[in-house]
């Protein structure tokens, strides 16, 4: 059955019936003009939104609706994580072609519910509109944090170490493997790359620990590519930075694919985007201890990859042979970048 045949309100009812009971801070959830929400008085609210658009962020036949639902929420969870917050409430705005099968929406919501459940988020409302334009999933996510825990892009100081969670470049490798049939890698790495592309895991627990540690000085999530997101930290903190290539958490298979696809083994790691790892800074004396603590408590690796420099210093990448090259921000720009296929 198409959504055209089912109709908007029956479809919304169907979605609502599929959702788990809401948290007691949800006074009114889906089904009225607004969601009515309560929070503790000593918290600040964190608000973010991010969209997945057919043809820009995904191709309908190349990702399952369930993965798309999980990913659409993951990219927003990653923003709340990067502020050190606890995600709480989501509104889901869908643009849907009339001839889309209802099963697409069912599976999309299966992924959304799964991801929401995993991170204790309530889906409290949203909107559904006909879109002759193709599918889009726009999510608004509210989180909360004690005010003192909120991490921003500003705050990095010369001398701070630069840290990053997890691994870099794998989502970009996944996109390249999808779009360039000539590229080859091992079956096991192809699956790792696909998972990073289609089912990224937001670092929510890690972000909360980093925000609550009192030791980090700035944080951002790596969505546009390490170099571009580091550029945001440098810009907001009025500093420069040096990254050591050999300390970047990049798999050997990723470097090989990056060389083959882009002529540089570091390209995917620095400019690939969509890693959804956390990039953060901490005073030099505390960085090692903070990294180990996050690793111990979450099992997620944390790498110290470089150092914050005074603003006047050139921004540079130190290669494994000791050579230095300028660290261009590069990265993903939604408008100046190439076609979706080139992302």
């Amino acid at each position: 059955m198409t959504i055209d045949e089912m109709g908007e309100f029956p479809l919304i009812d169907r979605i609502r019936r599929g959702l788990p009971p809401a948290d007691s801070d949800v006074i009114v959830g889906i089904g009225d003009d607004v969601a009515v929400l309560r929070t503790a008085a000593d918290r600040v609210w964190l608000a973010t939104c991010d969209v997945q658009i057919e043809g820009t962020h995904f191709l309908r036949g190349s990702i399952t609706p369930r993965d798309l639902g999980r990913k659409a929420l993951a990219v927003n969870l990653s923003d709340i994580a990067s502020a050190g917050g606890r995600p709480r409430f989501a509104l889901v705005s869908l643009g849907l072609p009339r001839d889309l099968d209802v099963s697409f929406v069912d599976e999309l919501y299966e992924g959304l519910r799964e991801q929401a459940g995993r991170f204790s988020v309530d889906i409290v409302g949203g909107n559904m509109s006909r879109s002759a334009l193709g599918v889009f999933i726009d999510i608004f996510l509210l989180g909360e944090a004690p005010k003192g825990n909120v991490m921003l892009r500003s705050g990095a100081r010369a001398g701070d170490k630069i840290l990053v969670t997890g691994s870099l470049g794998d989502a970009a490798a996944g996109v390249a493997l999808l779009l360039s049939p000539g590229l080859a890698t091992s079956p096991s790495y192809a699956e790792i790359a696909r998972m990073h592309r289609d089912a990224p895991v937001p670092r929510v627990r890690e972000g909360g620990l980093i925000g609550g540690s009192g030791r980090a000085t700035s944080m951002i999530d790596v969505s546009d590519g390490l170099a571009a997101d580091l550029d945001h930290i440098c810009g907001k903190s009025s500093v420069s930075a040096r990254i050591e290539a050999e300390k970047l958490p990049v798999r050997a298979e990723n470097r090989a694919l990056s060389s083959a696809a882009r002529g540089s083994e570091w390209h995917f790691a620095l400019h690939g985007g969509e890693d959804y790892e956390l990039l953060f800074t901490a005073a030099s004396a505390q960085a090692e201890d903070l990294a180990r603590r996050i690793e111990d408590e979450t099992g997620t690796p944390v790498s110290i990859i470089g150092e914050i420099l005074p603003a006047a210093s050139p921004r540079e990448l130190v290669l494994p042979d000791g050579g230095k090259v300028p660290l261009d921000k590069g990265g993903w720009d939604h408008f100046t970048a190439g076609e979706a296929g080139e992302k």
Copy 2:
């Protein structure tokens, strides 16, 4: 210059520079991963989102970008108003074709800023993505209210009077005049209809007064058409309703156009949609007094148009000649309705 040539981050910077200084409850606004917001401890939050999609809600050549910006925020303001709340913070998610001229975004934001300023809303964040699909403007709006003021669709009781602000059917007449060149009306009514279609005025002050009055029992805004929105109140409140056609606030020119276009002088008023008036209920003994008070304080007319009935009663429309016809919910459904052109 196209947005493709300007690039995403310069465009975001340009938008940020154009915004007025933020309210002191905005701890961090546009330009970080999240907006950081504070509110009073004795308030609940109201959250809503609504989108304007090219080809579904508007045709790019038929509405100015400035009106589109005003309208995109107005439809969300109307939702907060219908809950009796005070709008506070907006996030704006834009989907933009690469070849769109930057002036479109500038003018869109001019309208957004104007509308935000008029209702003391801070634009605190958002997102901008390339959309091969055409333009969309998705807005996420947070409001607040003392918990006791929040008005919902539920709460109407048999015997309550049904009230509505302003006038009905004018936006639908505006759409019909745009799309059916055969229709004719006076120049002055054509302009009234166009304004209702392209520049609806959300009833924010009226909603706050109704919520704070302690006398209304339920409320919704008229976005899908009076009959469909009354159906939402009846469904959520488990009641039925009787509407008296001659008490509907409908201009004579509107009835004439509705007859010519849809074969019934009440069609636009009952099923047209996009009125963005407030439909609410109040105990019979208090309705007249409440209506006069809202009129006196805001200058907006308030009409008593019918009565809430027990759930078992048929839902009906009483015609001026005393005849009764079933009041079908009809109204606008994004998927089962006709093409955008028929809306």
